[in-house]
Symmetry: C2
Subunit: 474 residues, 2 copies
């Protein structure tokens, strides 16, 4: 008998190997020193291996941990404070956003990690204004972090329509330096669980020169660039004014659309523009929930995939989504695209499940390490209870109904275990590194204080939510 750390056995494995969901019945998976060392039919596996810990997935689906490729978890403390409003950024978010301090951001991040892991997320693609603290949090809670430090050159102030953003080269340089420092400190940290990306905030917020400098830095450190790209009409107006080109066309001109780029949102991109980005080798992150709430738009992910590109899913942020739950993103992605194309066969369940796992892993540059259950890969996986009133009944012949139900029926509370690098980070309703009952009062206090500080601005802005509040709608 070979000694290993962990053995998982169960009736339903969705490995994501091949071009489908890689289903294997009655299998077992051997995990040792953080990696998958074998996966095969249950009986021979059980006689070959003896494990420190055995996970019995007797009425569960075992699948790769979900990848949430684009998040602002430090905003999670503002959950529910900005939605159902036009001009989300200025009239919804801004009054609260301006009051966020680093301590509050860390509490918010803890909330989002608890929420995300409970719903099966094992890789957190954080785009951050407080990346150092968040790397520590990821280290301590055992999740995988693909962390991006924001780099922004535009001066933060109110701009009127038609006014070009003012660049502050010193600010841009300082933020790039911080990103480089973060990369030196954290890239490959926590046994490789944490990796650092470069995050120009968008082609409108960073000058051509700095964008190209960031690209050189990313090349040198072998990192990727994670950037909001063509995320709306404000961005498009800026690049039109400054360069006479829409964002995608301009990024193409400066050679930015390549394998190094993860283009987030593409909200405002045409299908042709999306296809161009894909053909150049970049990948895309799709945030269906947040773009649905904020803009009422379904971004061109299907065109991106049709052109050969990989698309990851992202939950974005809680003051306009309002959750970090990849089950939610899978379902919304499938449904929104059926509606967009008025075709029920568009974005089937298996496709969005791949976007949450192997296609997402490829999109964020971790396709060789995670995203599928395969010998040699890191052991990031989750167990989903199928004996629940939301997933029952399980049917296997003549058709298996598990994948459609994972996408269209599951709520997220069916996840019983989450494992990262072979470590069980979530079981029995508890996240190993964070005690919910301990952090909840701190989060509530901090949220109340933040909201109090934002009151004057909230009232001054006279946004839709202030009106809804006055008229008894909230």
């Amino acid at each position: 008998m070979e000694k290993i750390d962990l053995l998982v056995s169960g009736p339903h494995f969705f490995t994501m190997n091949g071009d489908g969901v890689g289903y294997e019945a009655d299998h077992a998976m051997a995990v040792d020193r953080g990696k998958i060392v074998a996966l095969g039919p249950r009986a021979p596996m059980l006689s070959q291996y003896t494990a420190e810990r055995v996970l019995d997935a007797g009425h569960h689906a075992v699948l790769p941990g979900f990848i949430d490729a684009h998040m602002h978890i430090a905003d999670c403390i503002m959950r529910g404070l900005a939605q159902d409003t036009a001009h989300w950024m200025m009239y919804g978010l801004a009054p609260f956003f301006h009051q966020l301090d680093k301590d509050t951001m860390l509490l918010a991040a803890k909330l989002a990690v608890v929420e995300g892991v409970r719903a099966g997320t094992t890789t957190f693609g954080e785009f951050s204004r407080a990346p150092g603290k968040i790397c520590e949090l990821f280290r301590n809670t055992g999740v995988r972090g693909r962390v991006t430090a924001t780099i922004r050159e535009a001066v933060s102030r109110i701009y009127h329509p038609g006014e070009l953003y003012e660049y502050d080269a010193a600010r841009g340089q300082r933020m790039l330096e911080e990103c480089l420092d973060l990369s030196h400190t954290w890239d490959g940290g926590a046994d490789g669980r944490i990796t650092i990306l470069f995050g120009p905030q968008g082609p409108d917020f960073v000058s051509r020169e700095l964008l190209l400098e960031i690209q050189r830095c990313a090349e040198q450190s072998g990192s990727l660039i994670h950037m909001h790209t063509q995320q709306g009409d404000r961005e498009t107006a800026q690049t039109m004014m400054r360069y006479g080109k829409r964002p995608v066309a301009w990024l193409d001109e400066i050679g930015y659309l390549d394998e190094r780029l993860i283009a987030v949102h593409l909200t405002d991109a045409t299908e042709d523009e999306a296809a161009l980005v894909a053909r150049r080798g970049a990948s895309m992150t799709l945030c269906s929930g947040s773009i649905g709430i904020i803009d009422g738009i379904v971004p061109p992910a299907k065109a991106f995939q049709d052109a050969g590109g990989n698309v990851a899913l992202g939950s974005d942020q809680s003051p306009g989504n309002n959750n970090h739950n990849i089950f939610n993103e899978m379902k919304l992605t499938a449904l929104f695209n059926k509606i967009k194309y008025r075709d029920p066969e568009v974005m089937p369940a298996w496709k969005v499940l791949r976007m949450a796992t192997i296609e997402g892993a490829r999109a964020i540059g971790l396709g060789d390490e995670i995203g599928s259950l395969e010998t040699g890969k890191k052991a990031d996986f989750i167990l989903v209870d199928l004996d629940t009133p939301t997933m029952a009944p399980v049917i296997t012949k003549p058709m298996r109904n598990i994948v459609p139900n994972l996408v269209y029926a599951a709520r997220g509370d069916e996840v019983t275990h989450a494992v990262v690098d072979g470590n069980i980070i979530y079981e029995n309703g508890k996240l190993a590194g964070l005690d919910w009952s301990e952090i909840l009062p701190e989060i509530t206090d901090a949220a109340g204080n933040l909201a109090a500080r934002a009151t004057a601005d909230f009232n001054a802005v006279k946004g839709t939510n202030a009106q809804l509040m006055r008229t008894g709608k909230l």
Copy 2:
């Protein structure tokens, strides 16, 4: 001190009184003999009443129980067996649907009741082929049932495009008789929790004569008519061939669009047609999830409301939705309509919360009895835990974030209690009248047997799901 059955006290009551959400802070609600007898500020209420049972909603929202106005719960055993497919009815559902027997339907109904109540549904608007058994189930589990018996005159066989449905008058009469029998037996049953509606399956499936006879019967018994209306191009093709008119125009001609009609779906209706139905006084049930999956369409509920009509929400059925969860319907309704109109202010959270409660109650003719927390109304309500990682943090000033989070963040598992007629039917994760661990094996067995019987048809149809199964996508 006045003695009562039940007292609920907590920080957040959403009564739905007025034209918003009727928020009341730090209130208590007194319930006696099934009705709400008082609702007021906590301190005086606590000194006025002494209750058999006190429910401490200390970190909860208290709100009216959800109304799921259109369901086929007897289909729930086919969850996940038909979606991502064109021609849902014929190529997706039919192979399995034809194998449903009454015993299996009852098991399916039990599954749906457990699922629905756990997610806050207290009123089940069942449209049924096995209504008698389902009335018994509703009686035994304590939920409120608005049960419709299906009446269909068209012969059940395969029709080719362009072929008019053949009517069997005897069949129609027999089904009407059954509906009348059901009404005699069950209308007002279980202490008034169960009421019976008349359910012509659709204007294409029932002749003009029988439709009018049904209308007379409904008038005589003071019931409403619950009918699939303009639910798709097949229906429209039938009424065009038979009457030279689209369904809504034809129903208007025969005087069917009035206060007695609950028009379900209106999938294929234009905004003008929807507005006409509303102006005539009929109400609408919107099944966002199922119509999204099956057709990729967002029905014209907004136009219906803009014309003054009431719209209820419905979860429809599980082989193409794939769940019975009104939180899901609220969220999808809000998001789908934002996308349809490309406007983030369309269908705000408070509006869809009203559709799940008071507007829904009005739409199904129970607006004077349930749907809001008001003295004299029946005590149907739920408690939603706000101290969860999905609902935290709770913010009350300058803006309350609870309603947006109920709609956009809640998964359904935040519901801790469901109360109908003042009886607590769900608490501690258990539904009083149904033991999940007992019924699960029966449901699983029955589902397996159903699927086995459907295998030949499933393979013969060669539908999309058969192809997905063959190619490793399921």
